[in-house]
């Protein structure tokens, strides 16, 4: 996961917008690429996107806020996604997640005080036959229990 940049490089924004503008339905690939580069979708990108795609600020805001993936401010250095869906619940996933959040003193979407880890809910990682499931950044983990969660958090520096 990209480290959130403290200074936003406007030329990089222009480069990303240009690289995607000719796709059919360019907005989602563009937003993903911006988030990949900056860790979130920087506000500085809004006006150039609207200009380039001929959409209103309201439309852009609608799209960014509709999808769970897009962030308007940086997340922690790592994102731990814990599945809340039915298959994971059937093997104690909900209690496990609640216990973790209580231990960290966080709610869903919260970030540890040292900025290391953001905890997000996710609805299905397709690991339903080895539940409960979680994902740290892009790395999947199955049959998660409290001990595995502690290890993942320690590796992430929480």
């Amino acid at each position: 996961m990209a480290q959130p940049a403290t200074v936003i490089d406007v030329e990089e924004i222009t480069r990303i917008i240009d690289a995607h503008a000719r796709l059919e339905g360019p907005l989602l690939p563009m937003l993903h690429a911006l988030q990949e580069a900056f860790g979130y979708v920087p506000a500085q990108a809004h006006a150039p996107i609207c200009d380039r795609l001929n959409i209103t600020r309201a439309e852009l805001h609608g799209v960014i806020t509709f999808y769970h993936d897009f962030r308007e401010k940086p997340a922690g250095r790592h994102v731990l996604k814990i599945c809340r869906a039915e298959a994971c619940q059937s093997v104690g996933g909900a209690a496990m997640a609640d216990a973790l959040l209580a231990k960290l003193g966080l709610n869903w979407h919260g970030t540890t005080a040292n900025g290391a880890v953001t905890i997000e809910p996710v609805y299905c990682l397709g690991l339903c036959a080895c539940a409960p499931a979680a994902m740290v950044d892009d790395r999947v983990v199955g049959r998660v229990d409290a001990a595995k969660l502690d290890k993942l958090l320690a590796e992430a520096g929480a």
Binding site: L23, H32, F66, D69, C88, S90, Y123, G126, C128, C130
Partner: protein
């Protein structure tokens, strides 16, 4: 020495990378082939060692098993993988190559029957291709079960300067992972199926809308498309036929509702993923307003085998109007979870108890949710229901994408009903009122029931009727199924608190 280890994300999630690292360290000269998963997830990571052309399995493995695997003393030895009961009892058509081949080797794909179907299709007219799919009896495996050939016919007959094939790989339902497994284990079969669809209906461009929660599948599919293009399978001249088809992988952005086809199309166009009213059908006005085939991954990935072996061969499997095979995904609290491809007709009880081996916890089964978060909870009393679209419909169930989540007797069904409403509230696109507001009211009403308010039960039933009748898509329209099935089949879970309050 040739060793096979899956790179399927379920295998990775259970430590396949660590096992591969240990194997490489222990036997640097061995050839390690990464494959998809055979579908026996309870045996993952499943290591296979080839001896005299026969693949012998070991699982579930961890790095400490490597020494024993290599010197032949491992207690995890399973014998020849093809002889395992789970493998022998299957009819693997769509998944024939998954777990067998290197997913990113087009040569491997072809050595196991790949591209035979496409080559046959390239010699046919569009109408002949559509007719072949109709004859096969293939119905949409994404959940709705609509006849695929009829959908293709509509797009084939539409007159437009550009048509599209859109593959719905937004596999958001809990207990479903067949799409992920085929994309990670045999991506060329999906590319082949989409190409046949494109040639059949006259579409030159395809998109796979793949959910962002599947980074491994995205990586494999993206690479496979690059390889297919380089090898002339995709592009202006598909396999030298003079016909054009190309495709792109597009990443979703974490919205469950985008698995609904019209919402998916809006998302693909770069809009909010709100549902569109039908008509117009996507087959006539789909992506960018053009005629579009929107099919699920499994539907499209099944097309090549239909053309390889012939439509009648495929149609000869099955039950009633459910032809061919169903890719069961057995999940949740189950001893042997995984993917099992078989002809339609097997009973629900056989799937759960015989194949699945009952619960993982060892406790009695309480309910099985079939068809994902929008599917009803089936009680044990309905275990004799055969897997078939119509048969499940009669029993008050739905097959959906054929995912099953098993729950043991410790499950609080009121809690599961509440979660169904909560999930609907989180994921509602907001377009129609019964779903947007009904789901929130549903959570509140179930909370009242939990507190012992007997008047709230009829209110919940009434609310569910409104959601069912008044919602535009299956999210609002089907959320009442898990909710009301929990109320109907497990009334004790909704009454005990009331008694306590009295």
């Amino acid at each position: 020495m040739k060793i096979y280890v899956p790179m399927d994300s379920a295998a990775k999630a259970l430590g396949a990378e660590e096992v591969v690292a240990a194997l490489r360290a222990a036997t640097p000269e061995a050839q390690i082939v990464r494959t998809g998963s055979r579908g026996m997830i309870w045996l993952e990571p499943l290591v296979e060692v080839e001896v005299d052309g026969v693949r012998h399995g070991f699982g579930p493995t961890d790095p400490s098993d490597v020494t024993g695997i290599l010197d032949g003393t491992s207690a995890k030895a399973l014998g020849p993988v093809e002889d395992l009961d789970w493998m022998k009892r299957q009819t693997r058509l769509t998944f024939a190559r998954v777990g067998v081949i290197d997913p990113l080797s087009l040569a491997d794909h072809q050595a196991h029957g790949g591209l035979v179907g496409l080559r046959r299709a390239l010699a046919m007219t569009g109408q002949e291709i559509v007719d072949e799919v109709k004859t096969s009896g293939l119905r949409g495996r994404g959940g709705a079960g609509f006849p695929t050939g009829i959908k293709w016919q509509t797009v084939h007959d539409a007159d437009a300067p550009q048509k599209y094939i859109v593959c719905n790989a937004d596999e958001g339902d809990s207990a479903t992972f067949a799409d992920r497994m085929v994309m990670e284990g045999d991506p060329f079969t999906l590319i082949e199926g989409m190409t046949i669809a494109g040639i059949g209906v006259g579409a030159t461009k395809g998109y796979v809308y793949l959910r962002s929660e599947y980074p491994d599948a995205i990586a494999v599919m993206t690479r496979a498309v690059e390889i297919a293009r380089a090898e002339g399978l995709l592009g202006a001249n598909v396999l030298g036929s003079g016909r054009a088809f190309d495709m792109e992988i597009r990443k979703g952005a974490g919205a469950y509702v985008c698995g609904e086809e019209t919402s998916l199309l809006n998302s693909l166009e770069g809009k909010r993923g709100v549902v569109r009213a039908k008509p117009p059908l996507p087959a006539l006005e789909g992506f960018l307003g053009r005629p579009t085939v929107v099919n699920n991954v499994i539907s499209l990935a099944t097309v090549p085998v239909i053309f390889e072996r012939g439509a009648q061969h495929y149609a000869d499997f099955g039950l009633g109007r459910s032809r061919g095979t169903v890719t069961l995904q057995i999940a949740g609290n189950v001893a042997r979870g995984g993917l099992f491809e078989t002809a339609f007709g097997i009973s629900l009880g056989d799937v759960v108890n015989d194949l699945g081996g009952g619960t993982l916890s060892g406790r009695p089964v309480k309910a099985v949710q079939v068809g994902g978060p929008l599917g009803p909870y089936m009680p044990v009393s309905k275990f004799d229901t055969p897997l078939g679209y119509e048969e499940f419909d009669v029993a008050g169930g739905l097959i959906g994408h054929a995912g099953l989540t098993v729950f043991d007797d410790t499950t609080d069904m009121l809690g599961m009903a509440r979660f169904a409403m909560e999930f609907c509230a989180v994921e509602s696109c907001g377009k129609c009122t019964p779903c947007r507001i009904g789901a929130v009211r549903g959570v509140e009403t179930i909370d009242r029931i939990a507190q012992g308010d007997a008047d709230a039960l009829p209110l919940l039933a009434d609310l569910c009727e409104t959601m069912k009748d008044g919602s535009l898509c299956a999210l609002g329209g089907f959320t009442p199924f898990p909710v009301m099935s929990a109320v109907t089949h497990f009334p004790d879970d909704f009454a005990r608190l009331k008694e306590a309050a009295e």
